[in-house]
């Protein structure tokens, strides 16, 4: 009843979806799995109308449709239950459920609250949630909010003729196992009125609930598995299976690190929240990759080393010195550099020039008595523009106008030029095209040669394996396993995935 035919979606530098064929039958529960970056979220956005495909068509009940926005998709019965909960916390449950559709309760310009509460109660009954619709949303538990979100989407039943398609994006990520079972029972009951697309990285859950599973890799559907047609392991193999090009990750340039010099040591570190008992060591010249699913605590570990998070337990030692006050200032002064994932927010200042960005973290070194030594700054920038072959017309170029790869080089130059010898890289290749990615890999090897210790959260498992000396797998905030990954004895993606999910 709902189908995608040869759907294509391109972004600058990325071919996100390649001729996707996808079908959901009446009352069917379809699973959708894939690695980070495989194209799951793009596909979902196409389905619920946030993105418009560049090629191919969308069929609802056999008729070709085109949605300009999510609301139009909703009017055809396609609803989305968001992973990051989309309820507005300071509104009541009923206001959230009917947000944007209050008109039906309005008489003479005034909302009839009693009528809305009645209607909301009806929706909440569908998801078996017994709460007062006038409750303020922020006072609900995560599980309750998830159900309210589902109830909100189910209002489509009354509004839309015909069958519904409901997308569930990681609906179980904040639920306990009993709550998950409750949700699954509910979903199965609701298949009388709706079909579901279930997106999750928890393989066991996907296999339990889905009638069919689509496996996505590199923007393509690599397999469609029917219930019981395949084991979790085979599916996982299909998710990652790909020939790793050793040359691509510059494996021939990987040299043994200097295990006698420890740069960073985490000793039983726990953070508020999920991250517990993390111990690791980073040596000079080592590339240490932290792998795990989104929300497993990878970034939190990185941010702790950089002083942006303060541990509640355990010790952090940087170059043998115990860190007592956690702030980026302290970390930076100890030689730690941080390349954040959100380049635009924490990496570069658009509007400031290349040289201003490069010296931002080390202005103390380029000024005397508060007065800047501009000539020195510019010379340094020119030098690094040459060393990293940054494509900018000069050191005065506005960083906001550089391509993603060149912005990334500026961020790296910022830390390296200041003499940082501990680099924390959070998805350094995210959003870069292949050529720029290779430049970043090249730079990582250069830094290793210069005895810089690198902690990396990679974009894909292959990247982690290709680049790392050591791989740490984290799951739910705990270290599951540590792999040695020097050239020749590298683990396979499957080995890692096994411990990740």
């Amino acid at each position: 009843m709902y189908a995608l035919q040869k759907v294509d979606k391109k972004f600058p530098g990325v071919h996100a979806l390649k001729a996707i064929d996808f079908q959901v039958g009446r009352g069917e529960i379809v699973g959708l799995v894939g690695e980070n970056g495989a194209g799951k979220s793009t596909l979902m956005k196409v389905i619920y109308g946030a993105y418009q495909p560049d090629g191919g068509q969308i069929l609802v009940d056999g008729k070709s449709v085109r949605f300009a926005n999510p609301r139009q998709a909703m009017e055809r019965g396609i609803g989305m239950v968001f992973q990051e909960q989309s309820l507005i916390a300071n509104l009541t449950v009923m206001e959230n459920i009917f947000l944007g559709y209050e008109q039906q309760f309005v008489r003479w310009g005034v909302i009839n609250w009693r009528e809305m509460a009645e209607a909301a109660r009806h929706q909440l009954a569908k998801v078996k949630l017994d709460i007062d619709p006038a409750t303020v949303t922020s006072s609900l538990s995560f599980a309750q909010r998830q159900l309210v979100e589902l109830a909100k989407v189910l209002t489509l039943e009354e509004r839309v003729e015909g069958h519904l398609v409901i997308l569930l994006d990681e609906p179980t990520s904040v639920l306990s196992s009993e709550e998950v079972q409750l949700l699954f029972r509910l979903i199965r009951e609701l298949t009388a009125r709706a079909s579901f697309i279930f997106v999750s990285h928890r393989m066991d859950e996907v296999m339990e609930i889905s009638d069919r599973i689509y496996v996505l890799k590199d923007g393509q559907v690599v397999d469609v598995v029917s219930r019981g047609g395949s084991s979790a392991e085979t599916i996982q193999h299909k998710m990652v299976g790909r020939n790793v090009n050793k040359e691509y990750y510059r494996e021939q340039r990987q040299k043994p690190f200097d295990s006698s010099r420890t740069l960073v040591e985490l000793d039983g570190v726990s953070l508020p929240g999920r991250v517990t008992d993390i111990s690791l060591k980073l040596h000079a010249g080592e590339v240490l990759c932290i792998v795990g699913t989104e929300g497993s605590g990878r970034e939190a570990i990185l941010r702790t080393i950089y002083g942006m998070r303060t541990p509640v337990e355990g010790r952090v030692l940087i170059k043998g010195q115990e860190v007592t006050s956690f702030s980026p200032r302290t970390a930076a002064s100890l030689g730690v550099g941080y390349v954040p994932r959100e380049r635009k927010i924490e990496g570069i200042v658009a509007g400031m020039s290349v040289y201003e960005n490069m010296t931002l973290s080390q202005l103390g070194r380029h000024s005397s008595g508060g007065v800047l030594k501009l000539a020195e700054e510019k010379a340094l920038a020119r030098d690094w523009i040459k060393r990293l072959s940054i494509k900018a017309h000069s050191e005065h170029a506005d960083c906001g106008n550089l391509s993603g790869g060149n912005q990334q080089k500026v961020v790296l130059a910022k830390w390296r030029s200041g003499g940082s010898d501990i680099m924390l890289l959070d998805h350094p290749t995210r959003g870069l095209d292949i050529g720029a990615k290779e430049d970043v890999y090249e730079m990582i090897r250069d830094m290793s040669d210069a005895a810089v210790g690198i902690v990396l959260v990679a974009d894909t498992l292959e990247e982690a394996i290709g680049l790392a000396h050591t791989i740490i797998v984290v799951k739910d905030g705990r270290i599951q396993k540590t792999f040695g990954a020097t050239s020749g004895v590298k683990p396979t993606p499957f080995d890692l995935l096994h411990h990740m999910i």
Binding site: Y248, H393, G435
Partner: protein, 341 residues
């Protein structure tokens, strides 16, 4: 194979940058120079309507009227570049003007006596008020507009307390020489203001503090992640602004010869209008003290020009308000801003 792929990719990137380089700057350059073009156009229009507008005498008048406003505008420019807003200027100016007048009069009433000490004292007072302002904003985590607005009211109250509702008259001829003694047709205070402008420009372009203002305004999280002490930068910004407000107070007293609790009146609207019209972006990171100068001149040329061509003065505020909206509309790339709060 992989090299050729990266080559094409590299060429693609270069090509993309070039097309950008051709398109982008045209818009950016236009926005950058628009305020100056507007200023020139205004002068031309007013001169065409009444040639008397284009005279040294009239330009002198414009310059005198602009001087205190320029100091306020420079001060608030630093704050706006940081992405904050300061609305305390009227209170700060009132306190500074009254305190200056009080001590100036009680220590001799002429610059030739020890009363000159009142001048550095006033500048120091401006810094202290700015410091308080910044500390309230940063330590109590109150949004800058609210913290500074509240501090501004406190300042006005304080000024009334000092003056007990009276006016202080400064009749010292040496001090009034600021406005009466002319060089090349312009009074001495205009040159002093230009000197202050140069100092402000130096701070903006050649000091760590100035660079940090832009970093905080361009990306506060990034500045923090780069190891900058953002809170310190903010407090320093408010302090610096306070010093310039104090300078404005001195010029305002020099110009009128009077200090009273309403000495700061109207500076909030005029200075922020000027800064925005001059092309400093309200969300921070863009613009600088030269924009403030051009903005102040635009506002004062309009005020003066409307009198010269004989339009009623009640139209002036309306025209200025309209101009602010036009300036913001023109300078914002509103496609990139989905929601405005």
């Amino acid at each position: 194979m992989s090299t050729s792929a990266s080559d094409t990719a590299a060429q693609g990137r270069v090509a993309m940058q070039q097309t950008r380089a051709f398109r982008r700057p045209s818009r950016e350059t236009l926005i950058r120079w628009a305020p100056l073009l507007v200023l020139i156009a205004l002068v031309v229009v007013f001169t065409a309507i009444n040639p008397a507008f284009l005279s040294l005498r009239n330009f002198g008048r414009i310059a005198i009227a602009s001087t205190p406003a320029l100091m306020v505008a420079i001060g608030v420019t630093f704050i706006i570049v940081m992405g904050s807003i300061d609305l305390s200027m009227e209170g700060t100016i009132a306190v500074c003007a009254c305190v200056f007048a009080y001590f100036f009069l009680s220590w001799g009433g002429t610059l030739l006596s020890t009363a000159w000490v009142a001048i550095p004292l006033t500048l120091l007072l401006g810094a202290v008020l700015g410091l308080l302002n910044g500390l309230v904003h940063v330590l109590l985590r109150i949004p800058s507009f609210m913290a500074s607005l509240a501090m501004g009211f406190v300042g006005i109250g304080l000024a009334i307390l000092i003056t007990r509702g009276e006016k202080f008259l400064i009749e010292d001829e040496v001090f009034r020489g600021l406005v009466t003694y002319r060089v090349l047709g312009f009074p001495i205070m205009v040159y002093l203001a230009l000197a202050a402008l140069v100092v402000a420009w130096f701070i903006q372009s050649y000091t760590r503090l100035g660079r940090n203002f832009y970093a905080v305004g361009g990306g506060e999280e990034l500045a923090h992640a780069s190891g900058l002490d953002v809170r310190r930068v903010r407090v320093m910004g408010f302090m610096l602004a306070g010093v310039f407000y104090a300078l404005a107070a001195l010029f305002a007293v020099g110009r009128l010869g009077v200090a009273e609790s309403v000495s700061g009146a109207n500076f909030m609207f005029v200075s922020i209008t000027s800064v925005v019209v001059g092309g400093v972006a309200l969300w921070g990171g863009i613009g600088g003290v030269w924009n403030a100068l051009v903005g102040v001149l635009i506002v004062n040329v309009i005020n003066n020009g409307m009198v010269v061509i004989g339009l009623p003065d009640f139209l002036q505020d309306g025209v200025l308000g309209f101009l602010v909206i036009v300036a913001v509309v023109l300078s914002t790339d509103r496609r990139s801003v989905s929601f405005v709060k």
